[in-house]
């Protein structure tokens, strides 16, 4: 009996050692894989930062991660002034600020009414909005261009902003309608009994209660609209359009120009200027940003 217990416990400890070794090996491999991907992710960005200080000759020497010979901000000045990064940046800020505000206002209004009021046509409208989620913007490119042209909104901020809002509505309505549906009906009724109007109920009671959902979807829309490339490309064309370009368009254009003039370092400085603010904002709000962007995918 005792020998049996001893044998069992010996076997157990042997197994423990084995598992332990297995875990250590696994742990090691896990770290190798994770460090590898971290390098793959950060590598190109560090490379861009280094190259932004280098001269063209240095860039063509082929030592991507060597430190630059000297640090000067000259390339940054030329990116800001001659390549107009500053202007494109402000254009983006302006367009995204207005259109995100508009998206949130109109999106939450529509979502609220569709989620909490019964009226004929409610389901039809809801599905009309949500069906917009399924189809790529691409398929409607030509008609969209001509609709804007007929309305005289081509190459105008208003046109771009209205289109941003319209194309952000499907997801915003879908997400917020689900959110408004979950809010308790008791408070709603109490407010009605107290004589609050529908409008007042929406702005003073429902909006504050839906705050966490509103924050998520606001982040989602800011990031999405900031990163738009196709819509501005289609809408901001014509005479004098380059004054109104947003950042993505501007940078894409610099990259073509840089090829002709062999001014790669300006391009790298422009890229760094456009990435740095994002890194700063992300460092501060990374938790909210991750939650906001993934909120749509998890029910």
């Amino acid at each position: 009996m005792t020998t049996l217990t001893a044998a069992v416990s010996e076997k157990k400890s042997q197994k423990k050692v084995e598992t332990h070794r297995q875990v250590r090996a696994f742990n090691g491999l896990a770290h190798v894989a994770l460090v590898f991907w971290a390098l793959v992710t950060a590598g190109p960005l560090i490379w861009v930062l280094l190259a932004s200080f280098k001269s063209n000759t240095e860039i063509f020497l082929g030592e991507p991660f060597a430190l630059p010979d000297s640090f000067s901000l000259e390339t940054y000045f030329s990116a800001w002034n001659q390549a107009h990064i500053g202007r494109y940046f402000l254009n983006s800020v302006f367009v995204v600020a207005v259109s995100t505000a508009g998206t949130m206002l109109f999106g939450s209004m529509a979502a609220y009414v569709l989620a909490r009021y019964t009226f004929p046509g409610n389901r039809v409208l809801y599905f009309l909005f949500v069906s917009g989620l399924a189809f790529p913007t691409f398929m409607a490119l030509a008609p969209l261009f001509h609709i804007l042209k007929n309305l005289g909104l081509l190459n105008s901020y208003i046109g771009l902003i209205l289109v941003y809002i319209a194309y952000s509505l499907p997801f915003t309505v879908f997400f917020l309608a689900a959110f408004f549906r979950t809010l308790p009906h008791e408070i709603d009724e109490a407010a009605t009994v107290d004589g609050a109007s529908h409008t007042r109920k929406f702005f003073q009671i429902m909006m504050p209660m839906a705050k966490s959902g509103l924050v998520s979807i606001t982040i989602f829309n800011i990031v999405g609209q900031w990163n738009q490339y196709l819509l501005p490309l289609v809408i901001m064309q014509g005479q004098g359009a380059d004054q109104k370009w947003v950042l993505t368009q501007g940078i894409a254009n610099i990259s073509t120009q840089a090829g002709y003039h062999a001014e790669w370092s300006t391009l790298f400085a422009a890229l760094t200027l456009s990435i740095l603010p994002m890194i700063v904002v992300y460092a501060i709000f990374q938790r909210q940003i991750q939650a906001g962007l993934t909120a749509g995918a998890v029910k």
Partner: protein, 299 residues
Amino acid sequence: MRHGKYPFIIGFLAVPVALYATFVVAAYIQTFQLSVASWSGFGPIKYVGFDNFVKLWNDDLFWKSLRHNGYLLLLLPIVTIALGLLFAFLLNVGGGSKGGMTRGVWGSKFYRVIFFFPQLMALAIVAVIFGRVFASDKSGMINGLLPDSWAPWLFLADERWALTCILVVLVWQAVGFYVVLFSAGMGSIEHEIYEAAALDGATRVTLFFRITLPLLWGTIQTAWVYLGIAAFDAFALINIMTVDRGGPDGATSVLAMMIYRNTFEYSQVGYASALGVVLFFLTLTFAALTLRVTRRDAV
């Protein structure tokens, strides 16, 4: 019953519905209308029946583009989801068990922040960066890292590799999002299940395939749909990165690129709309198929 319900509903829906109807619904409907027309964008519209679709059927570039769409549609989700699951598993369960608790590896928070960052960057800016990373001389990051004695790789200028480069960039950008998404899913799996399995002597590989994967099936399905839709328009990358925009020799052309060029460069709005209609049905089929194929009983 309630006072002023309908004026309120109409007041709240008017602007969002008007915007959505003008810029989204009308554009989608006109795509169908224009797909049976010959129109350059100016002058009267001439209806030509199914001519555009016949022309499509005989267009080699269309079939080539369709193949490329298929390639991205298949490989982007597979590679991204596999990497996302791997890293999420390492981050959440890879750290071995202490006191019976399975944990993530050391530094998992840090990795999650780094991996996620590319998701915040505009695809257009990512495209500009990787256009330089893949440059076919020593100024490119990868060629710069290769030994001097090697002939530089052509990457984007090589018909055989250009599309794979696009795929690599799409994966690079997307993985972090799915790491965070799958991590959230894994976080909601009860620890007791892992512990019970670990006590029964299950290895990490078994844990992954027998517990994690089945319990995450719903999230993986969502991820597949998202990535599928992302794969339909790799437009920004192809427009900015590739030789001749869709080249070399059509090696990276996709339907989105064809729609854009036919609309804005060749003034073939009818033909572009026919392509849009094809894209519409492809997206619809893809979504329906995915939901059907991946349907499983809830665990």
